[in-house]
């Protein structure tokens, strides 16, 4: 009797330690980023692009990276969405339980696990093959490939949960499969689809390895798809690597900006999900 209780107490203690470690690491990471980064954050940082001598500690800000990241992640998310939604719908509604569906899910699972550096290498290979230079377009396509499996998997999960009775109601009224999918399934899955998109965007904007070779870097804001583009993750990396403490501080500030963008997205997606569930059945 005593031994059982003792064992339970020990493990409960270990459990608390574990949770403490997990939550603690989250708090320390965010805490350190904020502590180091907030002091270095200024209006200047957010609204200016690097001026001459920026990397030696002089004037400027990271607007190039902020806008660049938003352009790149936005474009990549849009591109991935246009492909992901039909794929997720097709796999569940048209391929159903066939071998094609199984194979598709397996293949997309593998793609999900592929490290982002591999996407970067692939993007680089394709770009050199086509004679393209590092550019916004290259970054968009590469990141789109990276986040495609993430989006499809998240959408697939939502679409799978839709009850058969709901679809049956639509078929019973004489709707075709495509009509049912577009008018009923997508409506019902809308909150989940939105979450999938925001999830993928968050992943895409924070990834460095995929844009390292494919998007280039620049102090300016790109004016065309073929211009190189600066991104926040790379901005952090490069600024951290300089020997000047002022510039390193700016790396911390950049980290704050990036983290805030991603965290805000996370919160917004939760709120929007609640709002969009208005029409959803059950």
């Amino acid at each position: 009797m005593d031994r059982r209780k003792l064992e339970e107490a020990i493990f409960k203690g270990l459990m608390f330690c574990s949770i403490f470690l997990v939550v603690g690491s989250l708090l320390t990471i965010i805490g350190v980023v904020l502590i180091k980064g907030l002091p270095a954050l200024s209006i200047q940082m957010l609204t200016q692009i690097p001026q001459g001598g920026y990397y030696l500690g002089k004037e400027g800000g990271i607007l190039n990276a902020i806008v660049g990241s938003l352009y790149l992640a936005g474009g990549a998310t849009a591109l991935a969405f246009v492909i992901s939604l039909p794929v997720a719908l097709y796999i569940e509604e048209y391929a159903g339980r066939s071998k094609l569906a199984d194979f598709a899910r397996l293949s997309l699972d593998v793609l999900w696990s592929v490290p982002s550096i591999v996407f970067g290498a692939f993007g680089f290979a394709i770009m050199t093959f086509l004679g393209m230079r590092a550019s916004l377009l290259g970054g968009i396509v590469t990141v789109a490939l990276l986040i495609l499996p993430i989006m499809v998997r998240a959408m697939d999960e939502v679409v799978r949960m839709i009850s058969f009775e709901l679809k049956e109601s639509s078929y019973a009224l004489g709707a075709t499969k495509f009509e049912t999918v577009v008018k009923v399934v997508v409506r019902q899955a809308l909150p989940g689809i939105l979450t999938a998109v925001l999830l993928a965007f968050g992943r895409g904007i924070g990834d460095a390895a995929s844009v390292l070779f494919t998007a280039g870097y620049t102090d300016r804001i790109p004016s065309s798809l073929f211009d190189p583009v600066a991104t926040l993750p790379l901005a952090i990396l490069f600024q951290l690597g300089t020997p000047f403490p002022e510039v390193q501080n700016r790396a911390y500030a950049s980290a704050v900006v990036l983290t805030v963008i991603i965290l805000t997205l996370s919160i917004v997606s939760r709120l929007l999900t609640k709002k969009l569930t208005k029409y959803v059945v059950r």
Binding site: K5, E8, I19, S25, P86, L111, G206, I236, L237
Partner: protein, 295 residues
């Protein structure tokens, strides 16, 4: 009529897009192989995998130290992460009151959203000095802090959210009736968890671990920033290492200037994707076998 035509065109288009997405893995592997095979004409596959000589300017490409670096860091990360994640998810699923759960779960998910450069930043600012000044002297090792241990710890934290969220869900799907049966015989909560819930949820937990492993294996940025990047085969966790993904990332400059480096790195990327592929397939097979036995 018109509707039938719409249905037909729409389903065909969706099929094409699906086929494209499904073949992406193979397209990528193929492209990497195409570019990577050039280096094989100069260096044998055996040398590539097992030689420790990495002198690109001399045309010597040996991946061994990098492969070992990857293995060390990933293994260490899993060793740290598995017990912590198991205990955490058991706590969240079985013991935590729902208010506590409602707070902690979103926090854990938040960890998943933090980009790897930020993890790396934290590693450089906090972890590396900590290892250098406190941890290493404690064990009598000498290091500047940039080592396998730093990489392993950062990686472990990065995979926490994946393993915990999947495991926790798996535990929750174990039906309450099963737990009640155990309680009815007079078992304590912990005994129930240990003998009944965990047994039922085991395949799911393995799946979560594999998922975490895949993520840890290919993680580039965070590890790159803290692991030291010295091409040597590590012999202790306080040694510096140089995982394969980090090598690829760091060698952008060489890729453009030194011949065959780009080919070698493409091959390195191919190795990564092949390992991930094998692991995914093996995981599926293992999962199916365990589930079949559980039935």
């Amino acid at each position: 009529m018109n509707r039938k035509l719409t249905e037909l065109i729409a389903s065909k288009l969706m099929l094409i897009v699906t086929v494209f997405s499904v073949s992406l893995v193979f397209i990528i592997a193929f492209a990497l192989f195409q570019r990577g095979s050039r280096v094989l004409m100069q260096v044998s596959l055996y040398d590539l995998l097992f030689s420790s000589a990495w002198y690109p300017t001399r045309g010597e490409f040996g991946f061994y130290p990098f492969i070992m670096g990857t293995l060390w860091v990933t293994a260490l990360a899993m060793v740290i992460a598995i017990p912590i994640c198991l205990l955490s998810s058991i706590y969240l699923a079985e013991y935590a009151p729902s208010k506590v759960r409602g707070i902690i779960k979103p926090l854990v998910d938040l960890l998943a959203g933090i980009p790897s450069v930020v993890y790396g930043l934290w590693g450089v600012l906090v972890l590396v000095p900590f290892i250098r000044n406190y941890l290493a002297p404690l064990v009598g090792a000498k290091t500047n802090g940039y080592c396998i241990l730093a990489g392993g710890i950062v990686l472990a934290i990065m995979v926490f959210p994946i393993i915990i969220s999947v495991s926790e869900e798996v535990f929750r799907t174990v039906s309450n009736e099963l737990r009640e049966v155990s309680f009815a015989v007079g078992a304590t909560k912990w005994q129930t968890v240990k003998h009944v819930v965990m047994r039922k949820a085991f395949p799911g937990f393995i799946a979560a671990v594999i998922l975490g492993f895949s993520r840890a294996f290919g993680e580039t940025m965070a590890v790159l920033m803290v692991v030291g990047n010295v091409p040597q085969v590590p012999s202790s966790i306080f040694d510096q290492g140089y995982p394969l993904p980090a090598l690829i990332a760091n060698s952008y400059g060489e890729m453009m200037s030194i011949p065959l480096v780009d080919s070698a790195l493409m091959l390195a990327a191919l190795i990564l994707i092949l390992v991930v592929f094998l692991f995914s397939v093996a995981a599926r097979i293992v999962l199916l076998r365990i589930e079949r036995r559980a039935m």
